[in-house]
Symmetry: C2
Subunit: 205 residues, 2 copies
DNA sequence: TTATAAATTGAATGAATGTTCAATTAATTT
DNA sequence: AAATTAATTGAACATTCATTCAATTTATAA
């Protein structure tokens, strides 16, 4: 009875436009009114779905972190081979295509919010911790399969994460494309070195 | 003739209040009006000194980056001993007192601006690059003095910076004090390990 | 066809924003 | 004391903001 609810689909549409505008102009310069204008709908419709701006931002953070999570996803082709799976993840993390899928500016913009917004802080902390656990799992699997020679798995995983976060922090300021790619390759190499693995071209994404 | 100018002193006062409010409530929640209210002055006075909000923010970025730079400052006592100087810098970077002097939230908040504000981007890039050069200089001096055994100085310096940036990225989300300090110590240890140095208590700050 | 429920609009709100400009106050020099 | 220059105020500005509420349109089920 009554009209079919479009709620979830509509919310996602709104968030996507929010994402694209914030990506272009920054989080603080993206208002509800501007999102509505871009979508050619009424601002009150956005408030109808997200009761407050805070909820809207929260939805954006969810959206961004979901995208971020994808980088750690292992394709079905490599799911059964622990070594290939690990190599695929490392490859994904240190690849150029990541940038086309994911906007670092927004990731850091939302990250900056964690210092004053407990909700966002929790989301980030839980995501990063779950990714750590995941990487630990992969490494342990590799060790169990005898394809990896590491002693302290947790430390190794931590080293990888430090490398990732530190690498992109500086990389985001590198505008020269050649230097960017060169550094990226070097960091990937270093990640493999931490894992006592060698670069391989055999692994597809 | 006429009144003595308080311009520079007053501008610094304003920025300091801006800093303290933004530290507490976040950059985007700190308006000119709020700064003026806190100082019990008229908002137009702030505009008098900083023509636009953009200029005001730019001043804040300068202020923050100047503070950041201090972490890399070597005390006079260690200035002549290259090994002690390097150890002091590493000690400063991975110390708890840094947090009392410097607000990570604002540092990341301004960092997030680099993605849409070319001016801020240049400031950050130039600072980080100059710090790199400085660290490279210290390491090279140590090598010249025969107290350090490293081959590729630039790579070593880059590894240190990646460690710093990556470490604090995650540390900023760690609220448990004990875990925070434990990790911090571990990262410091790792920095020394990259330099092939050992932890020393002999170096004062 | 009618009832129902959700989607959407439109107008209005008050508060806060950055900024302008003229007027006034306060300090310093001649 | 008078002239000068900067500090500071106060009132006003147009804009934008998030949010509210009632009214209307649109789709679906009975």
């Amino acid at each position: 009875m009554g009209r079919k609810s479009l709620k979830e689909a509509r919310k996602k549409e709104i968030i996507k436009v929010f994402y694209s505008l914030a990506k272009k102009n920054g989080l603080e310069n993206t208002s509800i009114a501007k999102i509505a204008a871009k979508m050619e709908i009424n601002p009150s419709l956005i408030i109808h779905y997200f009761q407050t701006r805070e909820d809207l931002v929260s939805g954006l953070v969810d959206y961004i972190l979901d995208k971020y999570k994808l980088i750690y996803k292992v394709s079905a082709a490599n799911a059964t081979d622990s070594r290939k799976a690990l190599l695929e993840i490392i490859g994904n993390i240190f690849s150029k295509k990541w940038n086309t899928l994911f906007d670092d500016g927004l990731f850091y913009g939302c990250y900056a919010m964690t210092f004053h917004d407990d909700k966002v802080r929790d989301l980030y902390k839980k995501l990063l911790d779950s990714l750590r656990e995941m990487l630990i799992g992969h490494i342990e699997q590799c060790r169990a399969d005898g394809v990896l020679d590491v002693t302290d798995v947790e430390t190794v995983a931590d080293n990888i994460f430090v490398l990732i976060d530190g690498a992109y922090f500086y990389l985001s300021l590198v505008s020269d494309k050649a230097e960017y790619e060169q550094r990226l390759a070097k960091y990937r190499q270093q990640a493999l070195s931490i894992l006592h693995l060698q670069e391989l071209s055999e692994v597809a994404g």
